[in-house]
Amino acid sequence: MSAFILRRLWQMIPTMLGVVLLVFFLFNFVGGDPAYLLAGKISNKEQIENIRTQLGINQPYYIQLWIFIKQILTGDFGVSWATNEPVSHIIATRIGPSLTVLVPILIIETIVAVLIALAVAYVRGSLTDRAIMVVCTMAMSVSLLVYIIVGQYVLAYKFSWFPVQGWGDSFAENLFKYSALPILLGVAVGLAPNTRLYRTFILDEINQDYVRTARAKGLSEHKVMLKHVLRNALIPIITNLMIYLPSLLIGHFLIERFFSIPGIGREVILAVERSDFPVIKAITVYVAAATMISNLLADLLYKAVDPRVKLK
């Protein structure tokens, strides 16, 4: 077990190095000279040279790369080009709002989707099952933008059931007042695809021999579905959730943008709009690291819930 973890951590090093190289390549070669971006339209040679010296662009590439790696290791990415706020401070303060919205979405969405999936899988092939699957397919075809635009307009603007947007200081206010509608819409967006996916997971289990055995020994349908089928179907469901987990860190960026939630996702969009390279670089590198760790955790969890799995 610990040998497995050590080996996986060891294998992360080249990948992480690759991510660093990719980000470095993108922002230092493809991105053009940031000095021109920073200096703006009215600029002279002197200013540009000043900025270049400040950023260290005049130095050879290996030194710039070394500076970048040092930034990653120390967590000090300097300040945002747009707002002069330290990048580390941006990340630290934006994660909270992202999680406030995303964690409830993830929990509610999973519970509701699993319950619907269990129900439709139980009556598989029936009219109800087929009707719900058609509704899911159609619901997935509507752009998620439309759900958010219409939901915000109808529920917040027209009926004033929720605040249109905003964010406060207290956690309870944020969660119950400002996050209520974003959470509702987030669940609405994710429900159809997840129901479809979980239904196939459950259908894979429902035809297995052990289900017939359970029925044959006289267990109630409740017990068969919730104890036998659901427990086994949870294995792929958990894996799917773990894959989804890293995206918690960049947040549901569309929802954050529509509702002006000061989270990481909105920060990324703002940074892209303002060509605020340090912020994008930092978030990309850290989210990549978090993704790799989360994948490792997924494998370990997989092993924990399914003893048949052998870690290699």
Binding site: T15, G31, T137, M138, I149
Partner: protein, 390 residues
Amino acid sequence: MNAASNASPVYQASPGLWTLAWRRLIADRVAMVSMAVVGAFLLLTLASGTGLIAENWNDEIAVGYAPPSIFGKPDISGRTKMSKHDDGAAVNAYPGTVKDPLAEDIAELKATLGGGTSASPSANTALDTKDDIDLGDGLKVVDPIGPEMAEILATTRMSTEQSRAESLLFGADKWGHDVIKKVIKGSETSIFVGFAAALVATLIGTLLGAVSGYYGGWIDDLLNWFYSIFTAIPYLLLILAIAAVLNQKGVMTIVLILGLTGWTGIYRLVRAEYIKHSTREYVQAADAIGASNARRMFVHIFPNVSHISLVQLSVHTVGFIKSEVILSFLGFGVPVDKVSWGSMLGEAQNELILGYWWQLAAATIAMAILVTAFSMFTDALRDALDPKIK
């Protein structure tokens, strides 16, 4: 159709994978209907791409926000009530009332600071006094809403000059463009981007997957390393990061962004197939008769793998159409002079608050129909090409 033909002249030809798949597809009613819908959209795209229809989508043929015909003439009383939230375009119905809210202040500022010609603070001076007065030291009096006001005034004038339709079959947008033409033009952009990007992604994924799975060894390790890098960064974050560094909009840019980031899933699938096939007997036989590596990879193995690439092409087209809509909505997608479903939704977001829902409805319905049909077609294609189902 008989690409994977194993026919021999002596025996009666047995149908190949593609013939069987085609037969299954034709027998499937859902598949045929969805194929017809997708085909209709493709024809529409082709017709609009070659300029047969919707070429003049940019003509301002109606008054701003002309409603769909079945809802009759614009409700003017409702608009004046709305004008509090209005951004100025709806006042087309009352051209005389357009007024630059800052004109008086700016004129006053210029008069006092510049000390020069004092412009009379009348309503339509925004156009004439737009020239900034230099105060020295780089300080200027700038009208912050000057350009927008000029545009609004210009459209107002134009609408009084020429007669415009008061309502259109599917309604009009802020500038009086016909919404249905915008939808057709938007389909062209979105479908082209989706398909072209999927083609790029499928080509890269298939090629890298073939090389990786066939050769194995250090090439496999290297390409797997690339794969692990691209999958370590969440997909949307990677797209946004690349959009940030490229910092230029264009249809080809977005095709490249989507294509260059979207190959990983295809690579994985194709690689697994090539690993499986490269040790099979027919490949060893090809080796024995002296076929080169490239020939074994693409002439012998590829026909047995190509159905996977085809299904992935279809899957990714749908996915990239959705991604393009989101990117264009955020303003990182197609340039301003192009119309796409995403940019239409972006405009519609502001229109909805004013009560003009038709552009949103048109873009949503068009996209939903295409995506539903395309998804169902993809499912049918996957089933038809699955050799396990006979």
